[in-house]
Amino acid sequence: MSAARVGVVTFPGTLDDQDAARAVRLVGAEAVPLWHADHDLKGVDAVFLPGGFSYGDYLRCGAISRFAPLMEELIPAARAGLPVIGTCNGFQILCEAHLLPGALTRNASLHYVCRDQRVRVEQTATAWTGAFEQGQEITLPIKHGEGRYVASDDTLAALESGGHVVFRYLGNPNGSLNDIAGIRNEAGNVVGLMPHPEHAVEDLVGAPSTDGLGIFGSILKNLVNT
C-alpha cells in the first residue's frame, strides 16, 4: 500500500506549514506541499490548512487567503468530501470560505494568548478525530489573537444539536461561545479548530503532550479504511 498523501498548504504568511508536514510524516504519511497560487491539489488524499498570519492577517484573518487560486480547487473538493482540516489561521480561512459556519473574532481579553490548553474531544465521528475516545481530554497549545468563535443563535443551536462541535475548551481562553474550540461540517470531512495539534507531537519540543498525534493518526486510519 502506498502512503497516504496529505497536502499541506502554504499561503504568503503561513507559519506552521513545516510543522504540519513534519507531523504528517511522523505518523507515516506523505506530506505534499501545496502552493496557494497553484490551481492544483496534486491528487492528495486529504488537506491540512496550517496556522500563521496569511496575508499578515490584515483586514480579517483568512479574508484574503480564501480567494487564492488553490482555494478555488479546494472548496469544491471539500464540498465533494475531501478530508480537510484547518487549524488556527486554517480554521479562520475555512470559516471565511463558508466551508464551516460562524466566524473567529478578536479574543475577549484583546490579547494574543499562547498557552497549553486543555480541550475535550466532543466528536469522534469526523475524518480527523476517529483515533480519539469520545470525551477524551487532551492538551494542545493555542496561540492566537483572534480565536473567539461566534455564530448566530440558530447556527449555534444547529451545531450543538447536530453534534458538530468537535472540540471544547476546558477553561475558555478567548471567550468563544459555548467554549467552542473546533467544529465540523455536516458531512464530517471538514474540521476546523483553534488549537495546534502539530505542536503537540514530540516529547522534545512543543507542548508537554503528544496528543496532537491523534489528529494525524485519525486521518491515516480514515484513509486506510476507505
Partner: protein, 81 residues
C-alpha cells in the same frame, strides 16, 4: 479620481470586546455621559475613475465579499463628500 468610504461594523448582536473595553475605561479617565461604544472599520477606497453607479456597484461587491464578513458584520458604502 473619487473616494468611496466603506464602513464596516459588527452586527449589533455580536459582542464587541474592543468597544466594551473602551466604554469601561472612559469613566476611569474622567469621561462621563457615554452609554456605549462600538468599534468598527473604515476603508477609504480611491477609485481611478469617477464614483458612478457602476463603480459603486463594484465597491459594494468588494465590501460584500472581502471588506466585510457578512456572517458577523454589516457594511455601508458611500461617496465621500
Amino acid at each position: 479620481m473619487a473616494r468611496v468610504i466603506v464602513d464596516v461594523m459588527l452586527k449589533p448582536e455580536i459582542l464587541d470586546p474592543q468597544g466594551q473595553a473602551i466604554a469601561r475605561a472612559l469613566p476611569r479617565l474622567g469621561f462621563s455621559g457615554v452609554s456605549a461604544v462600538r468599534q468598527g472599520k473604515r476603508f477609504e477606497v480611491e477609485l481611478e475613475g469617477p464614483a458612478d453607479e457602476a463603480a459603486l456597484e463594484e465597491v459594494r461587491k468588494m465590501a460584500e465579499t472581502l471588506l466585510a464578513n457578512t456572517v458577523i458584520e454589516d457594511y455601508s458604502v458611500r461617496v465621500e463628500g
